[in-house]
């Protein structure tokens, strides 16, 4: 309790409040603009946060991460275009309600559900932190190696209908993390005698290219869509009372968000998918789902917003990011010499609590901001897409050039921008590359570090933790292959 109270001291600082305000309000605005999203914003802002105090830099990014999905629900409900990719499920019931002149009700439902998900996950995590602090130090090299492997396996199999290409891109990400000088024998790997490849591919450069520059190129080469000024109809209070009526759905979905958030490599998509199906299963009118069911919006939004806080658990406890956004945050931790892992919970627990409290305040500020400023936010949806592309390209320059003022970095970033552009055009996933890059580095380090205790391959899984994680990997893969096999048989029967 003393630790929790002492961690509140950071909120006596004015700069922490400014960071919270910028992060939360900025996150909502970014989330409400279709075509930008938190990944682009965080990738651009990352280098700028390097010069800030760690808690300030991380709070700004946490603010964007935790609040973008709130904003993303607005265009999803009003114009059938999700602000962030994870708001896609909200369009099903949200836009149907808008067509029935219940836009205001749908938006209010989304806000309260997001708020419940966000706050629920933070409270759950604050109570779980003492348990995590006890469990995290038990993780050795082999356990972290297995946890990283689990993250990669889950990332691949969670890309339904794209597992093969996701697998290839994971290995591609792992490969590019090996380029440059290796740290054991100090030999060059795949540098092709080019001095600019000696330091390898910088994660931020790759991130900016794949997320920001590629998105700018997509917008610049596309056409502007004429978006009519959406109008808000229906009662605000009706939405709140509708939310109260379905509070069980909100709580179940928040639980699902927390569970899915903790598992590395899974994230918002599966959390909302499971929550939506559970909500439909327990609904008295399941036939309404997809046609304007309030429970559909509640399930999707509560689950989405419960994930960011939960995703911080594997990141903070083990240093394992579960998705692209937490992978970006990991780089901020490293820059400030804060090494996520068991040590963080033993020696800097007040920092961890400080982050959770910041997230808590961010959720409250976002909720107040949205209740007051939704009408003004509607104008943002109308910003021309190609103009957004110019702005993102201009901002990408700041992100990549401030790293080392290097022209080569910018060329690399542009190269990955084109690669990301092609992947997006082909509807192929980008996240596996980033996770492959980050988790691949961790796996190589832990693989080498664990050698002193290894006589045979079985030694990797003979510890209780690593053995359990390995069992989860085997179960996850078995379920995946069983589902694929069933689909194949079913299709063959139909043919």
């Amino acid at each position: 309790m003393d630790v929790i109270l002492s961690s509140f001291e950071i909120f006596l600082r004015w700069d922490v409040w400014v960071a919270i305000l910028i992060g939360s309000v900025g996150g909502v605005i970014i989330g409400a603009i279709p075509g930008v999203g938190p990944a682009v914003a965080i990738a651009i802002l990352l280098p700028a946060t390097y010069s800030m105090d760690p808690i300030i830099g991380i709070t700004v990014l946490l603010g964007i991460y935790g609040s973008a999905m709130y904003g993303g629900a607005i265009p999803a409900i009003l114009i059938n275009t999700p602000g962030t990719p994870v708001n896609a499920l909200t369009t099903y019931d949200g836009y149907s309600m808008t067509k029935d002149n219940k836009a205001r009700r749908a938006i209010t439902l989304a806000y309260w559900s997001s708020f419940t998900g966000g706050i629920f996950s933070i409270i759950a995590l604050i109570f779980m932190t003492s348990l995590i602090a006890k469990v995290a130090p038990l993780f050795g090299s082999r356990d972290i190696l297995m946890a990283a492997l689990l993250g990669l396996v889950l990332v691949v199999i969670s890309h339904r209908k794209q597992t093969v290409i996701a697998g290839m891109l994971v290995f591609f990400g792992m490969f590019i993390s090996t380029v440059g000088m290796e740290s054991v024998k100090y030999t060059k790997r795949f540098t092709f005698d080019q001095s600019w490849l000696l330091s390898g591919f910088d994660l931020i450069t790759v991130l900016l290219g794949l997320f920001a520059v590629s998105q700018a190129l997509i917008l610049l080469t596309g056409n502007d869509k004429k978006v009519p000024m959406p109008s808000l109809k229906g009662g605000k209070h009706e939405g709140f009372f509708g939310f109260i009526k379905y509070k069980t759905v909100a709580i179940i979905s928040s639980c699902m968000g927390v569970i899915m958030g903790i598992i590395p490599g899974v994230g918002e998509f599966l959390a909302q998918f499971f929550s939506y199906n559970i909500a439909r299963g327990i609904s008295k009118k399941p036939e309404r789902f997809g046609k304007g069911a309030p429970e559909g919006i509640i399930a999707a939004e509560a689950a989405n917003n419960a994930v960011p806080a939960a995703a911080m658990i594997p990141l903070l406890a083990l240093g394992i990011p579960g998705e692209a956004l937490t992978a970006m945050m990991l780089s901020v931790f490293y820059v400030h010499s804060i090494i996520p892992g068991p040590d963080l919970f033993e020696n800097h627990i007040d920092f961890v609590y400080g982050l959770y409290e910041s997230l808590f305040i961010i959720n409250i500020i976002v909720m107040i901001f949205l209740l007051v400023a939704t009408k003004s936010l509607l104008r943002i949806i109308q910003i021309p897409q190609r103009f957004l592309g110019i702005t993102i390209l201009g901002l990408s320059f700041v992100g990549v050039y401030t790293l080392r003022n290097s022209f080569v970095d910018c060329i690399m970033c542009a190269f990955f921008g084109i690669f990301g552009y092609v992947l997006k055009k082909l509807d192929l996933p980008i996240v596996p590359i980033i996770l492959g890059m980050v988790l691949g580095t961790i796996m190589e380090q832990k693989f080498r570090a664990s050698q002193a205790r290894i006589d045979n391959l079985f030694n990797y899984i003979d510890r209780p933790i690593s053995g359990t994680i390995f069992a989860i990997i085997v179960i996850a893969l078995s379920i995946h292959f069983w589902v694929v096999w069933r689909q194949y048989k079913k299709k063959k029967l139909i043919d």
């Binding site: 700028a48 209908k161 790997r189 610049l220 110019i390 003022n405 022209f407 689909q487």
Partner: protein, 174 residues
């Protein structure tokens, strides 16, 4: 094997990826070192080889998947058309790199204003209001990042030609 509806361009993509992994596979002995009397796990060659072999296996599987789907729905003309569309963004990449090249010479402020102004015209927004909004956005970005957040961007060579006081002011803030 799971099937996703065929997306035009995938055949070209998978051919490029297969060529890429082939080059990497051939390069392993030349681009990584192998030490005698050093355990396998400490060999610098081990991890990149593992990644490339993994990439190769998945690439081969993916090419089978794509080829099956291509036979049903694909057309070579549309593949080539898609390839042409991949060239489109190179124009903007050139503008981006010109902008990067210009910053150390003309300074961050002037380069950014030029970049925003010219790209706005290139994108077809030619009304006075859009041009002013574009310049204001560029100026706002420079003030936010260089003047307020003090990010490290090299100052422009052009600033040295300004009077002493102005020169220092522009070097620090713009």
């Amino acid at each position: 094997m799971e099937k996703k509806e065929y997306q035009t361009g995938n055949l070209v993509f998978v051919i490029i990826m297969l060529l890429f992994v082939s080059v990497l596979l051939i390069s392993i002995p030349y681009q990584t070192k192998w030490f005698d009397n050093v355990p396998l796990v400490k060999q610098p060659r081990l991890w990149p080889t593992f990644c490339i072999v993994g990439m190769t296996i998945f690439s081969v599987f993916y090419s089978f998947q794509i080829w099956q789907n291509y036979k049903i729905k694909g057309k070579i003309q549309s593949e080539l058309k898609e390839l042409q569309s991949w060239v489109k963004p190179f124009e903007f990449v050139v503008y981006f790199l010109l902008y990067v090249w210009l910053v150390p010479l003309a300074g961050y402020l002037l380069s950014t204003l030029l970049f925003f102004f010219l790209l706005t015209i290139r994108e077809g927004y030619r009304t006075l209001s859009m041009l002013l909004i574009s310049l204001a956005t560029g100026f706002g970005i420079v003030v936010a990042f260089k003047s307020l957040l003090k990010v490290k961007i090299s100052s422009g060579a052009i600033y040295e030609y300004l009077p002493d006081g102005w020169s220092t002011f522009f070097m620090i803030y713009f």
